[in-house]
Symmetry: C2
Subunit: 288 residues, 2 copies
Amino acid sequence: MIAQSQVKWNQDALRALRVTRGFRLEDVDPRSTPGYDGDKHHGEVDLRAGLDQLAQYQERLYAASRGGTATDAVLLVLQAMDSAGKGGVIRHVVGGVDPQGIQLAAFKAPTEEELAHDFLWRIEKRLPGPGLIGVFDRSHYEDVLIGRVRGLAEPREIERRYGAIVDFERRLADHGTRIIKVMLHISPEEQGERLMDRLERPDKHWKYNPGDVDERARWGSYMDAYQTVLTRTSTDEAPWYVVPANRKWFARLAVQELLLETLEAIDPQWPKADFDVEHEKARLKATL
Amino acid sequence: MIAQSQVKWNQDALRALRVTRGFRLEDVDPRSTPGYDGDKHHGEVDLRAGLDQLAQYQERLYAASRGGTATDAVLLVLQAMDSAGKGGVIRHVVGGVDPQGIQLAAFKAPTEEELAHDFLWRIEKRLPGPGLIGVFDRSHYEDVLIGRVRGLAEPREIERRYGAIVDFERRLADHGTRIIKVMLHISPEEQGERLMDRLERPDKHWKYNPGDVDERARWGSYMDAYQTVLTRTSTDEAPWYVVPANRKWFARLAVQELLLETLEAIDPQWPKADFDVEHEKARLKATL
């Protein structure tokens, strides 16, 4: 086992942050730190300590899959309102892992070709293979979030998608993919400050899009759409976790902890050699 | 400009390591550290300092491409004999950069479908878009290395490929991709020790392949094939760099420095806002 040094968690993040029956998004304080007793300083120390653990688990996960029998993979789905910190999570949590073990997919507005297919077509193509940690920066959930808020599809089609998503994710889970779905949850006030910061710094202008302000006007509709998503698609095979994200340090730490606890549960093992080690040593020695 | 803190380089790595006319691979000592005056300790300090610089350059490269005009990209091609340290370079150099700015492609033995196409077909699909740093873990050069040594194609076809590669890479360069081709160069003795280490550690068995010993028997043929590649395909648009790699710390530092000097030459700039900043501030304020 790889030692856990996260000392300030008072319960598993997988439990503290999980969306279960009766969950209401409006009850979550975006400034809170559910399950964690530490402050920003503790959080940063724990994040650093977790980087090594995560790198070690990932290497074992990858190695186990090379053994030929393990099909375990991890899929981290990140959804959030603009500026909630998806990019920071990818940089500071995922970035600590060997790039060879990560499969990152950022989903933008669909292309013409993608629109001509079912909404899960482009998703299927970016799924992580065995031994990899897949990270989705946005996902198929856009098709029931912006898709619903902006009326990009008929209500009946939106309705169909919830069920299609549950079936799709069950199939992935049955094949050995552990799915961690995270909504980074910020308050509209916090978003306002972050967008203003982008406007005030010339080196951040490229991150700003005038459309961001238009979407802000639809905050309530987005929260309604998220609530429906959380209610309809948080399953045993693919649970949702709502991570309060006004405090960036907590959002990063919490996503890291969700990954660590998931990998700890998989507990990947170094595969046994499928060759005769002593024989290979002798062959190699003959070449030295 | 981003300050360079690599103090122990006595000349640009882009110059010290470059393959130019008359280059002979057999003249390169795999234990040497061309262009660098420091020892392992200096190298590790410089590598750490370089991580931040590289991350900053990469962010600017990406930002500049979002501005819509810059098409600059970087393509790092890594070729080497087994165990020469490609994986370590990816982990310790590329791993320091935001994963969102990296496009990593590992090329294994081609599939049936890939073999049915021209050898550059699968390569084209994995090229980095504007603003990205592409990293090829093996590449189209396999088709003139193992392809030649193991006779996987007719000599005439192998011959054709050198010219096709030069034309292909010129086209990429014309579109704004800076190509850095690196051969990590170890001695057969060093490889022997590294393979033995894999055999002696159960947590490394998964990295060992009995075929590695068979390839060792063809070391001379591989060096001949590399020499031809270096002679025929090191061009102004896409130069080769031979990085002595018996010392892992130097190989990592040298590849990092090649990337840093290349990005410094591009000198990417934050793009100007394509919207009225004051107007947007006012719109945003109205929502606070």
